[in-house]
């Protein structure tokens, strides 16, 4: 049984269909890449699955249960966690406290348990000096902290929305290793990414979106050679 299954998922903003008729399945322990040009509906897809937007029509099933109309915090409780395209640290809390959020409210842990779990995750993510305020952290650390916050909710599905954006080469390498380690622990991961190297190195399967629709899906090698995908990214030959 698929961990996540969407059937004809559609989300409209006014007259614009940011997602239309998206049907897909994500299996357990899989790493799936979602790619597509700007405006293809990748972020809307994340937001609809994570519950920030409710679908206009269609169905989302998670662990065999229809979750189409549940709210964001309820989906977190069910086991869907995410990071954000733009960094969104909570400035009123320090690094460790940011990560504790996941345990406190995602799992309902006590302060003590949430704190211990957050410390463990920090170690796993190689985050140091955990009591630092956000203003004293680097971009890479903030991104890692956001993944840690998502992990602290003890999810079964993790969305990584452009976690590599803005990182330099070494940092990207480090991040790829981290994601691989997380998947190694049995986590199902959906990666939304523009950096194709990341998709190539990490994903078992790629889904390509264009204009809110699934253009094609398959192995990275097949998808990246697909003429429709190349056209979608680069435009028609005459335009080049």
């Amino acid at each position: 049984m698929a961990l996540l299954k969407t059937t004809n998922l559609t989300r409209q903003f006014g007259g614009l269909a940011a997602l239309s008729d998206v049907s897909m399945e994500i299996n357990e322990k899989e790493v799936v890449g979602v790619i597509g040009p700007n405006g293809a509906g990748k972020s809307t897809f994340t937001n609809v699955i994570a519950g920030l937007y409710l679908p206009t029509s269609g169905k989302i099933e998670f662990k065999g249960r229809d979750i189409s109309m549940t709210l964001a915090h309820e989906r977190c409780h069910l086991g869907i966690a995410r990071t954000f395209q733009l960094m969104r640290p909570l400035h009123g809390l320090n690094m460790l406290e940011n990560i504790m959020m996941g345990g406190l409210f995602g799992k309902g842990h006590s302060l003590k348990v949430a704190r211990n779990n957050a410390m463990e995750i920090c170690q796993f993510m190689a985050l140091e000096k955990v009591e630092r305020p956000i203003s004293a952290m680097t971009a890479l650390e903030i991104k890692k902290m956001e993944i840690a916050r998502a992990l602290a909710t003890e999810p079964s599905l993790l969305f990584l929305d452009e976690v590599m954006a803005g990182l330099n080469k070494d940092e990207t390498m480090e991040m790829i290793e981290t994601v691989r380690k997380i998947n190694g622990q049995g986590m199902t991961i959906i990666i939304i990414e523009h950096v194709m190297r990341v998709i190539r190195e990490l994903t078992h399967r790629v889904i390509v979106l264009e204009w809110g629709k699934v253009l094609c899906e398959g192995l990275y090698e097949d998808v990246s050679a697909d003429q429709r995908v190349i056209t979608a990214y680069l435009g028609e030959e005459s335009e080049c």
């Binding site: 964001a72 977190c76 969104r88 009123g92 959020m101 409210f105 302060l111």
Partner: protein, 306 residues
């Protein structure tokens, strides 16, 4: 060393409890006023930590005041018990209002809470049971007007509010409110039921305001639509929080002490002129003291620490 803060607080409370032995009626009444506004300012700040601003402080004070007076007069209840009932009713009304409007944010929520104040003020003005425009006078003030008794009552309410504010800062409520103020999308994605926490905090802080209003009515022995729902009950605590420093327990406490003392001194020099001074202090605090007085202390402390 970790507990020195609590030790100092405990010593302060003990000293405060013993004060009626040494002070006359006037300073004690002055302290009553300080405690009243301290409890209001701290409770207002407790909700503000979520980014939501209630302008219904006067409304809940009035609801608490009228409830306690009606309970004492019509049901013959003990004044202390009726103060608690006033707090409960204020909390209940906050629950209904909060449930209906806590999906609103910022200005919209603030205006609705202000409207609630007006609705209840107009209601008590027009019902016979609440005494119409003249209000109700109690046959006896609480503790027969004993200065020490009323002082201890207000001290207890102020200390209770400060301790509750601490609890808010030391428990998961702190995480819930801070994350809600910072970024609601991240908070919800981390599993936080924002609405639930906002309602809980709005109910608790409004109940405190109802309790303060109830105690106020019992101490002075009367309620009227204009004095019990006075705009001072919302504007003064707001000014005190801005001056003292929001998002803390000690900021509002400092603000309440300072402004109450300043107002009392000014009343003697320029009657009613103190209201003008409040306005100026509010503007100065907003323009040049974004973190309030407590914020300056914290900055100096952080510098010294480094």
């Amino acid at each position: 060393m970790k507990y020195w803060k609590y030790m100092i607080f405990a010593v302060c409370v003990l000293v405060a409890i013993s004060l009626p032995k040494f002070l006359g009626v006037y300073p004690l009444q002055m302290l009553n006023i300080i405690f009243i506004y301290m409890a209001l300012a701290v409770s207002w700040d407790m909700l503000l930590r979520s980014g939501q601003m209630s302008l219904g402080v006067a409304g809940f004070c009035g609801i608490g005041g009228y409830t306690t007076v009606l309970c004492t007069i019509n049901l013959g209840l003990n004044p202390l018990v009726s103060i608690l009932i006033g707090a409960l009713l204020a909390g209940l009304i906050a629950l209904l209002v909060g449930y209906a409007v806590l999906h609103l944010r910022l200005l919209y929520f603030a205006i609705v809470t202000l409207a609630v104040t007006e609705i209840f003020r107009i209601l008590v003005r027009n019902f016979d049971i609440t005494g119409g425009p003249e209000g109700i006078i109690l046959p006896n003030a609480i503790f027969k007007g004993d200065a020490a008794g009323t002082y201890w009552l207000m001290l207890a309410i102020a200390v209770f509010t400060i301790i509750l504010s601490w609890v808010f800062q030391k428990t998961r409520i702190h995480f819930a409110l801070t994350s809600t103020a910072n970024d609601e999308i991240v908070a919800a994605s981390s599993g936080l039921n924002i609405f639930k926490y906002l309602v809980i905090v709005f109910v608790i802080t409004s109940a405190i305001q109802g309790m303060v209003g109830g105690a106020y009515a019992q101490i002075y022995g009367f309620v009227t639509p204009e004095s019990s729902f006075s705009v001072n009950f919302v504007l003064l605590p707001v000014t005190m929080v801005l001056l003292g420093g929001s998002n803390s327990t000690w900021g509002p406490v400092i603000g309440a002490v300072l402004l109450s003392v300043i107002a009392e001194a000014l009343k003697l020099v320029i009657p009613y002129g103190h209201l003008l001074v409040y306005g100026i202090i509010m503007i100065v605090a907003i323009l040049w003291l974004p973190g309030g007085i407590y914020g300056i202390f914290k900055k100096i402390g952080a510098k010294a620490h480094n």
